[in-house]
Subunit: 413 residues, 2 copies
């Protein structure tokens, strides 16, 4: 049994995490939110209190923290008695926060793979470059570290595990499809940190095909599906965290990730990329100022959290899993539909943040209860998906399944 | 009789000016090239010597100069005995260089309107905000200052004056059309300083219609013409220097400027503008760095002078002038065709730089000879166009005319 949660980060996802922790503070105990900007943490605390999200009277506090300062993070963990750390800060801080957890014994949860600011689209499997190097250390110290437990990666890994465990005898391919059919009404915006968002797409795109790593360029391959609720959508082969772990942890020939983009997004992205404005390498202006173009693009784009109030429409994210069952070919689509406006009404964030922020809180509840307190490092597909998906059904991210028997909710009661 | 030329600036246009001054150094005397970067000046000097552009043995020297330092510029003018200053530096330095000319008595020539770095698309007539405030000072001191004597503004002003003086009894409209039908083979590039280039288009677009200033947005109005050599081309109503002077100096109802753009240029421009990346106002990055987005865009785009070696195709720039002659409606198109590759072969710059750089040297020759040494401030349309266009016929920018009598060279011998 672990309790008391430290949330690292104060963006749109952290806001969802804070609200959802508050809604379960009878189990999770005290809540601490820490980021470089304490004002942003204060704002989230105020929102939690204002919306009456705290299930029972309890503590929720804001702290200023540079999460790259391992000693400062360890001290905050100890001083606040936090036994669970949910890291939803920048992907650049993962390894520092994990170090602080290894030092203090706190459970570590994150929602995205570690990134080095100077590198993009690293060699696969990416986890092996950073996180997995700490596997032994976690095991030795009995530290629970659950990697990538947002929606994608995270819930989609659980969907994959569920399909492999329960729906198919042999699996030929897992295709994860992420469609945001919502509209923010701006000329252009990214749904989370533009810097992290663009970095996913500017280099090579890795996929696992016929048990080999295949490299493509962004927008080189697409697929068009007629999906539940959101209808016909085109998605593009993209590199993504979960391809790097599912390929190693599940015995499957093909693992691919497909993200939906409209023509307008692709046009803006293409212009910026071709001009060199998405580069993470500094350029020097005529006046001698050294500046990273991508950081300037980030500075001119809307703050993703500012999109929430006007965001309408739905997301559809799920796994198309193909293989055989009882000697016959079978295909299942396990998925979730989320609604931007419903998310905003509940927790003040848009649907993308909602889908990313609810799962780590479900995971924290499973760590608190002991079901997922595995005392080692794990990707989500290595854990039992049933209690996780069961919690998500109750917490606002219901799972549905579509196969030859129809399209229906998936319950694990 | 004036002689010895100081060229300020060391970009693609300055290179053309240097070569053309060298080709006429029997009249113009010693040549000095000065800019912030003496290395760029040295490079131009080397190019002039290497191509054997000096007509007679003479002096050509490079100096480092901050042209915003009026005292330093005045000292350089005096120490080098320069009686003619050709300012083809940034449009931000015009008023400083003019001050140095007023102080020393040197003739002043430039090719673009003065700009305040903090302002774009100023209120019309733009010249009245800066240059024309020095009219009295020029007259008092007998300083010749010829404003905007590049191609456009410059040669097109002379075309307008010629049409008004010689081809029509009454003029209803002057439409200046600037088409670059060349290709540089890059994804995207501007033909001169991207900062100055984009600043022309990001704000409002002023035109003189029915004797009033009319404001539009860029790309709001277009016209498609079947033009000599370059064929059918679409051009867009744009603000431009010469509209601000022609409207005041000629007695004409309508003066408009139209610039040709391809769909790709418009798309890139539109994306950058809508994102805020063409803004001249600083933004602050997440790391706290204050930076002007437009300067970063400039830093990632190709250096315009680097385009020259691969540039192919032609430009067509001219004036469509409509009115009446002998009681009948008449329309003339007075224009020039320039070729990018021919320009590069002759002076090492592409055609856009060539069309901008040759005219101020023709003007300098007319100042040297006394024909245009008017001892006051003038826009080109206030001066006799015949000797100017006659010189340009000999210097590589021949004038042609197309009217009801056909399409033919225009000679003034």
């Amino acid at each position: 049994m672990k309790k008391n949660v430290l949330i690292i980060g104060a963006g749109g996802v952290a806001r969802v995490v804070a609200h959802k922790c508050a809604q379960h503070n009878d189990t999770l105990g005290n809540i601490v939110i820490a980021s470089r900007s304490v004002a942003k943490c204060d704002d989230i605390v105020a929102s939690v209190l204002e919306k009456g999200s705290m299930k029972v009277p309890g503590s929720i506090k804001a702290y200023a923290l540079d999460a790259m300062d391992v000693a400062a993070t360890a001290t905050l963990i100890r001083e606040t008695g936090s036994e669970i750390v949910i890291n939803v800060g920048s992907a650049f801080v993962n390894m520092y926060v994990l170090s602080a957890c290894l030092e203090t014994g706190a459970a570590y949860l994150d929602t995205a793979i570690h990134e080095d600011p100077a590198k993009i689209c690293e060699t696969p499997p990416w986890y092996a470059n950073y996180e997995w190097k700490r596997r032994e250390a976690c095991k030795e110290k009995g530290v629970t570290a659950i990697l990538g437990v947002g929606f994608d990666p995270g819930v989609v890994n659980a969907y994959a595990a569920l399909a492999v465990n329960e729906y198919l005898d042999s699996v030929e391919s897992i295709d994860i499809i992420d469609i945001n059919a919502g509209s923010h009404g701006r000329y252009f915006a990214t749904n989370f940190d533009p810097e992290i968002n663009f970095r996913e797409f500017t280099g090579q795109v890795w996929s696992w095909q016929n048990r080999q790593w295949v490299s493509n360029k962004m927008f080189e391959h697409s697929r068009t599906d007629d999906l539940p609720v959101v209808g016909q959508q085109t998605a593009y082969l993209t590199g993504h965290d979960e391809v790097h772990s599912l390929s190693q942890n599940l015995d499957v020939d093909n693992v691919r990730f497909w993200m939906g983009f409209g023509e307008h997004y692709i046009n803006v992205f293409t212009v910026l990329k071709n001009l060199g404005l998405l580069s993470e390498q500094p350029v020097t202006t005529a006046e001698g100022l050294e500046v990273v173009p991508l950081k300037v693009v980030k500075a001119v784009l809307p703050d993703p959290s500012s999109l929430a109030p006007d965001y309408t429409g739905k997301t559809c994210i799920g796994d198309v899993v193909k293989g055989t069952k009882g000697g016959k070919e079978k295909e299942v689509f396990i998925y979730n539909i989320a609604d931007h406006k419903e998310a905003y009404d509940e927790v003040g964030s848009q649907g993308i943040s909602y889908t990313a922020g609810v799962p780590p809180v479900a995971a924290a509840l499973l760590v608190a209860s002991g079901e997922w307190d595995v005392k080692e490092m794990a990707n989500v597909e290595q854990l039992d998906p049933r209690p996780f998906l069961n919690l998500l059904n109750q917490m606002g991210l219901p799972t549905r399944i579509k196969d030859e028997e129809g399209d229906r909710p998936l319950n694990f009661a």
